[in-house]
């Protein structure tokens, strides 16, 4: 009795993720190329192509650990968390947390945070370009109304904070990076942004981090400014965020 289509697809899906399914093998024609070898082409493709998609989304992680190590890490992740939808640019949200929990990566304690930066850049790249607040949009408001404004971050804008210097690690991971070592001491606060033709990041000061975090939490400009330390220059910080296109246009 041949497998019904639902059972065949269930068995094939299990095979792809590593299960040994004799009931599926029995359905497949084999000759000098046995059924099991024919089935392996598909399993191989699933792991290779999804691993390649993760490598494209997490290029800095891959540069840090090398292609072979990355393939092993990606293969383990794919087996545990295959995509739940077809758009590969949206696959891998759980990869940084997977890295953080993986034995093989525990000697590279910054690797998961690098993964969070790669993921934020990927999200920013795929975020809508429009809807950014410009200084001219606020020009008509009287100054006394500015402090109570609540401004959201623009699509794709994300703050990535780490106890490791992610900006220097990122720079050292680029193909054209100069030789030489990078000191792992010192953290980083990075603001990831969608720009018209790409995604990018800038480093923020501690005061800017407090201000941006406040805005992201829904505070008014005044309340967010009060979270920053005494050395914080509100004019420069606000102008910078507007210049970067980091804030969403008001509704």
């Amino acid at each position: 009795m041949p497998l019904a289509l639902r059972d065949l697809q269930a068995a094939f899906a299990a095979h792809l993720l590593g299960a040994d399914r004799a009931d599926l093998t029995a359905e497949v024609f084999g000759d000098t190329i046995p059924a099991s070898a024919r089935l392996r082409v598909y399993r191989h493709h699933v792991f290779e192509s999804l691993g390649a998609a993760l490598a494209a989304t997490f290029p800095t992680v891959q540069a840090l650990v090398g292609a072979d190590f990355f393939r092993g890490l990606a293969r383990a992740f794919v087996g545990q968390s295959p995509p739940d939808q077809p758009v590969l640019a949206e696959y891998g949200a759980g990869f940084p947390a997977f890295i953080a929990g993986h034995d093989a990566a525990r000697e590279l304690p910054y690797l998961a945070d690098v993964g969070r930066l790669d993921w934020a850049l990927n999200l920013a790249f795929h975020a809508p370009a429009g809807g950014r607040l410009a200084a001219t949009d606020l020009a008509a408001l009287s100054a006394d109304r500015l402090p109570s404004l609540r401004l959201a971050l623009a699509p794709g804008t994300a703050l990535i904070s780490s106890p490791y210097p992610l900006d220097r690690i990122w720079a050292a991971s680029q193909p054209d990076a100069p030789a030489g070592t990078v000191d792992l001491d010192g953290g980083a606060h990075l603001l990831v942004l969608r720009r018209p033709d790409d995604a990018a990041f800038v480093a923020l000061s501690a005061g800017e981090v407090a201000f941006v975090t406040g805005l992201a939490d829904g505070l008014s400009l005044e309340e967010a400014a009060c979270r920053a330390d005494s050395g914080f220059n509100l004019s420069v910080a606000f102008a910078r965020l507007l210049g970067l296109g980091a804030l969403a246009a008001s509704q």
Binding site: G18, A37, R40, V41, Y42, R43, H44, H45, E48, A52, A56, T57, Q62, A63, L64, V65, G66, D68, F69, F70, G72, R75, A76, L88, A89, A104, E107, L108, Y110, A124, F125, A135, A143, L146, P147, D167, A172, S173, A179, V182, D185, D197, D198, A199, A200, F201, V202, A203, L221, E222, A225, L234, S235, V236, F238, A239, R240, L242, G243, L244
Partner: protein
């Protein structure tokens, strides 16, 4: 308005008229350009042996040490282990 609030209001208003050059953006890293787009394709992966060989180590436990630029990071794992 309190004096703090007046100070904040004028600081925010000043930001709106800062010339573009004064909106110092800091070092911007261009990271993720348009050439990176496109992960969905309809070809079949062939790297190594396309899985057709019995020697394809699909399910083998992978044992590998990082061999990337992580050895440039002081305090990061080196490949010696």
């Amino acid at each position: 308005m309190t004096t703090t609030r007046i100070a904040i209001a004028s600081a925010l208003a000043a930001a709106l008229v800062l010339p573009a050059a004064a909106q110092a953006q800091g070092n911007m890293e261009k990271c993720y350009g348009v050439a990176k787009a496109g992960k969905n394709d309809c070809q079949t992966a062939t790297s190594s042996c396309a899985g057709t060989s019995k020697t394809d180590a699909q399910n083998d436990a992978w044992i590998s040490v990082p061999k990337g630029v992580c050895d440039k990071l002081v305090g990061g794992k080196t490949t010696a282990g």
